[in-house]
Symmetry: none
Subunit: 194 residues, 4 copies
Amino acid sequence: MPAHRPGAAGDPAPARRSRRHDPGRRDRLIDATLRVIAERGVAGTTHREIARAADVPLGSMTYHFGSLDEVLAEAFTRHAEAAAKVFDERLGAATDRDSAIEAVITLVRDDLLGSPDDLVLAVELYVAAARNPALRAVTQGWMQRSRRALERHFDPTTAREVDALIEGLVLHSALSTDPMTPDQIRHAIERYLR
Amino acid sequence: MPAHRPGAAGDPAPARRSRRHDPGRRDRLIDATLRVIAERGVAGTTHREIARAADVPLGSMTYHFGSLDEVLAEAFTRHAEAAAKVFDERLGAATDRDSAIEAVITLVRDDLLGSPDDLVLAVELYVAAARNPALRAVTQGWMQRSRRALERHFDPTTAREVDALIEGLVLHSALSTDPMTPDQIRHAIERYLR
Amino acid sequence: MPAHRPGAAGDPAPARRSRRHDPGRRDRLIDATLRVIAERGVAGTTHREIARAADVPLGSMTYHFGSLDEVLAEAFTRHAEAAAKVFDERLGAATDRDSAIEAVITLVRDDLLGSPDDLVLAVELYVAAARNPALRAVTQGWMQRSRRALERHFDPTTAREVDALIEGLVLHSALSTDPMTPDQIRHAIERYLR
Amino acid sequence: MPAHRPGAAGDPAPARRSRRHDPGRRDRLIDATLRVIAERGVAGTTHREIARAADVPLGSMTYHFGSLDEVLAEAFTRHAEAAAKVFDERLGAATDRDSAIEAVITLVRDDLLGSPDDLVLAVELYVAAARNPALRAVTQGWMQRSRRALERHFDPTTAREVDALIEGLVLHSALSTDPMTPDQIRHAIERYLR
DNA sequence: GATGAATGAGTATTCATTCAT
DNA sequence: CATGAATGAATACTCATTCAT
């Protein structure tokens, strides 16, 4: 295409350099992927949709990623990492059992139920993982990491059980038209941990 | 076409006759749908796949169902009904709090975790419901019904909480490579209910 | 189906006789066909659509007609006949050249442009005829009959020319967002015939 | 790709190379669409048929056009433009009323009735426009443009009326087994314009 | 006689991926 | 290095027609 004409000669630093070098693009594509999954589900996450969300040409997708599965795996990994980090930080900041319990409550009420997108992402990851071994590794890493974080304050059995409880509370609240109130969440967790 | 009436005499039941008349086909299609969902997920559940599973021509699908969503809704409704029935029966047979607790344990360990397909179906329904209002009604009916069953033996708050716990235990076990042992399941539930 | 049980014995004149004998049905189907063509075009006229419009079971269509083309041909024939009859009557009632001119004006303004459905039917018939010889016979019969009617008052050349003019006026008015006013119609016809 | 300019040297122009690169394909698809409409009508104009006519894979259609309606609209627009151009040119070349009348006669006899395909295209467009607003815009533009061209030589009322007459003459001739002779066409138009 | 069920061919459209430029 | 174009397989859905009851 003529519009490309790379400078006949002595063409000094063209002002509008298009996007020949765009180092953050791969990154932006992964973020866009998470947005698309949240909005349309894994089943509705296509090369086209991601490219549109990130405002890059379609061809860019397969240039940066070998396959759609690869994109999904990277996106979910990034998401899980971010979620686990919050988990770690909340519990890391707790100094005793009581403040750890408060941390768990905050975690469920604010971090998990507070951002509907994260919630959707979690459930989407669960199903996708059921059929995609690469994603299963992601969920397992995530589970393990949250369990480790809980074990800083609770014995392993309690940690595991409360982890499951958290999962159930989140899922129920996510799908119910009549989700639990913050007080009900607190009650459920305290009953288990106090 | 000679002899459409098989069985005149020593005629060993032809395996696959022309199926022009096939009562119960609609029913079989719904069952086939559940099998396909369990095997390939909602995303992999297509008209073609269901028709193949039921050994029926493709055109038959859209004759019996107005849309794929309709098929999914009917299939999940049937599944939820069956699951809720087991729930009701287990808890209906319990006579006191102690036997109710045993019923819950059996429910989780045997009925839910015992049949991996049912487990997958549950999770698939969760995600599908996140984007399909018709399915949301199914999940909600199911949730409500199990809560009612639990309320025959426990107060409403406990019923709701334990229902969430069950959900979490099932989900965690479903997705973990290192699922909880039966004893761990019993421990988690007893801790909550005793 | 058990509901059919045709009377065990001496079952005297069942009150709700369903529709076993329905002599007008074929007729109603043809009328329904014309309604469907007007509403959805020949391309959108299917067995199903006609059956729905006439509120009869789908199977009834192929019971009464050998093919969809047959239905279309009968429907268009009936329509053309009715239209030609109006044409004949209007011009038959005219006693001299002047009243014949008035008849033509009324024909275009009231009969043709007055009922949008008839107009659509005419154009639909034109295109359908372009590819269906059976329908071509219908259009030709119609054309001839209107020409004969015009020839009762005008010489053959004029009859033919004014027939074409009528066609053009109708078509233009039908497709324009800015259709001719009644006065413009009158003007165009009088210019030609006076 | 070697030698797109045939005739470099005894290179017998390979009949059908891989068409991975094929500029102008979109254009050829539009032309093919017009051919298909002329041959099989709008109702018979499918993605497949167009792709076959243009010798292009099916997937190519929906790559280049968002929907079949879009293809139809583009095709009819192109056709209307070409037809209007001829109209403009014929009338533009006329210097007085007499030569303008001759131009109209030539237009109908040669340009419109002379190419049966164009005639079919016109009628097809009419019906399609009845149900497709995008196409209605095309017909209206076309109508307006021809009226403007006529108004260069005739007063607005006459222009409008003769435009309708032309339409009717064309339509009648198109559908009749006994179409008007060139002399009859001339007679009809002269009667109106002289 | 009348009809619900059945079916195969066809429809528009989507999409992961490949490839020439 | 980056991308627009290309493509074949798949998807949901429609429908004329056939047929067993």
